[in-house]
Symmetry: C2
Subunit: 338 residues, 2 copies
DNA sequence: ACCGAGTATGGTAACGGTTACATAGTAGCA
DNA sequence: TGCTACTATGTAACCGTTACCATACTCGGT
């Protein structure tokens, strides 16, 4: 209840007329303490407004009860659900979270790793494309357990929760073929254009069409120019697949502004199934890859694996195509907007 | 470079043939160290893969270099931009962030406060409606500096970055009146229905219309039922003001699905200007309250105020109405937009 | 030759907890 | 009665850094 200068365990011990060891036992809840003593101590704690020093505890026990979560950018709507689930799971298990926005910036990545190392972080969950590749050497000497989220499966060194991107793409491809599309554009950043990127590969295999890759620098920005570019190359009907929902929603907006019918002339499909995707007009067809699974399974792996770095486990979540209104049968006549 | 058992400052000192004090000087960068010695020590640090223990540093120096950010739910699209800006500003000033999702759960709020206290957090930024009211007593005895974000201005005890909700509402009201609306619904949660909630008040004053409050339990959920409810009470033309963009986008979706014209018959206005609001169809008229300002100014206040709890400062950000396509002149005949 | 200021380094007591070990009382039981 | 097991509490070493103090060397000025 008192103002807070620094109250230590010794102050509490004096006030209650016991030793620090006894106070410590009361706090931690193990070891023998009589009911009477416990009462006294608890009263003193309350009275003095004592709160144990995390730093001292952590130093003495050599445990941090903190785990780090590295993502690229919380503003990308893919992440909030992931972060939320990781935080929830972590807290249930007695850990708290340090959130790191790496922004794909290499200096920042390194700074964060140093920082987390110095915090003696028990674990490190990473959901940032390319991070594991860029920082592999550095990650090897990280003290805590490392778990990769949403990276490609089959990593030999780190435990991984992955999605089957190929399969997700394939579902999109099949769907587009089924509703009659013959031309497909795939909208993504430079990374997704890399050789054999499985999601794009899946779209191509599933549809039997050589989907054309369109590069955008960042999500949501120059989509206006991009819409123009697409329309110069090709007239509807065609389909556009966005690497994520924001890209898809944004390009959909641009195309509708130009008077095209979605669906009917153009189909648009996204990826991630963010909350808003079902609220836009038309509601977006997309692929749900269960962000919240990542959190739960990631923490599961972290605990399963424990301290033994040689143990590597893998889980895979299955993506699911959610068909809504932004993709559909093509209409025959070339009729535009009324 | 070595595997990580625990390398301490002593190991480095031995390896470099100096004392721990010297190593400490090299790390912190102040005090006298010769160039030759510095070199030696830095090499040893690298060689051994040494990383100073945050816990030990923090214990010894009695500083945490950590600040806590309490929000209600990162999944609410209002928050990512705020979190991102706070994190950015915090890191620039040498602090790192512990993110706390209180979920409006009182037990969780208390648990977080205890936790942050025990971490000897230097500061605490809170952007969670009602938190300061519920936990005021507890907050008073918090050790670090407390800054309230997006609370009503004029708090007597804590520094505050506020928005002028009344003015934001008023802008919405005036706009709706100007384009000819006579009926307005305000969609919000129980909290916003409270007596004299300034934003709602502003809408009423600005429009000169007694806007009707509609309660929804949480954003985005039972909006379908709500759309029905509104339509039973009233036929278009009317306007719907959402307490946030997600509510607005969602109700807009429902109303369009029922064949109404937006704009023309119905206008929909949101609040927050989240990134997606300009990408939906029609693009959403909304109020920008500069989430990223909150982060910057919040950290500014935190540093300005320093350790002296008696100092209380205030900043106010001015909201700005962004007129897009979801609100517009009413059409006389039932004909839609050209 | 001597002095003081500046430079370079080492020794060591904290910081605030936890925990192994020691001590001692009490109760059950042969 | 004496032995064992359990309960209850205290003592003190230790976790890894930092910062205060002491020591010692260098050098320019008188």
């Amino acid at each position: 209840m008192a103002r807070n200068t620094n109250i230590t365990i010794r102050d509490v011990a004096n006030h209650a007329g016991v030793s620090t060891a006894t106070v410590s036992r009361v706090i931690s809840g193990d070891g023998y303490v009589s009911d009477a003593t416990r009462d006294k101590v608890e009263k003193s704690i309350k009275k003095l407004g004592y709160s144990p020093s995390y730093a001292a505890q952590s130093l003495r026990t050599q445990k941090s009860t903190v785990i780090g979560l590295i993502i690229t950018d919380i503003k990308n709507p893919f992440y909030p659900e992931l972060v939320s689930s990781v935080e929830e799971e972590a807290r249930n298990r007695g850990y708290s979270l340090i959130l790191c926005n790496s922004q794909e910036d290499i200096d920042r990545e390194i700074a964060y790793l140093d920082y987390l190392d110095s915090h003696r972080t028990d674990g490190l969950l990473i959901c940032a494309p390319g991070f594991a590749t860029r920082q592999r050497k550095r990650l090897r000497q990280f003290r805590g357990t490392v778990v990769l989220l949403n990276e490609n499966a089959g990593d030999a060194e780190f435990s991984t929760v992955s999605t089957n991107n190929y399969q997700g793409g394939k579902q999109i491809g099949s769907h587009l073929k089924l509703i009659g599309h013959r031309k497909i554009f795939y909208l993504g950043t430079r990374r997704e254009s890399e050789d054999g990127y499985p999601r794009l590969q899946g779209v191509r295999t599933g549809s039997g069409i050589d989907a054309k890759f369109i590069e955008t620098d960042d999500f949501g920005d120059d989509l206006e120019g991009l819409a123009e570019a697409i329309l110069q190359v090709s007239k509807p009907p065609f389909a556009v697949v966005g690497h994520n929902d924001v890209m898809a929603i944004s390009i959909m907006h641009e195309l509708m502004n130009r008077g095209f019918k979605i669906p009917g002339e153009i189909s648009v499909i996204g990826y991630d199934d963010i909350e808003l995707s079902k609220m836009v007009n038309p509601a977006l067809t997309t692929v749900n890859q269960r962000q919240s699974q990542f959190g739960k399974w990631g923490m599961d792996l972290f605990e399963d694996v424990g301290n033994d770095k040689r143990v590597v486990k893998t889980r895979e979540v299955t993506p699911e195509l959610i068909i809504r209104d932004s993709s559909g049968e093509l209409v025959k006549s070339g009729k535009g907007k009324p």
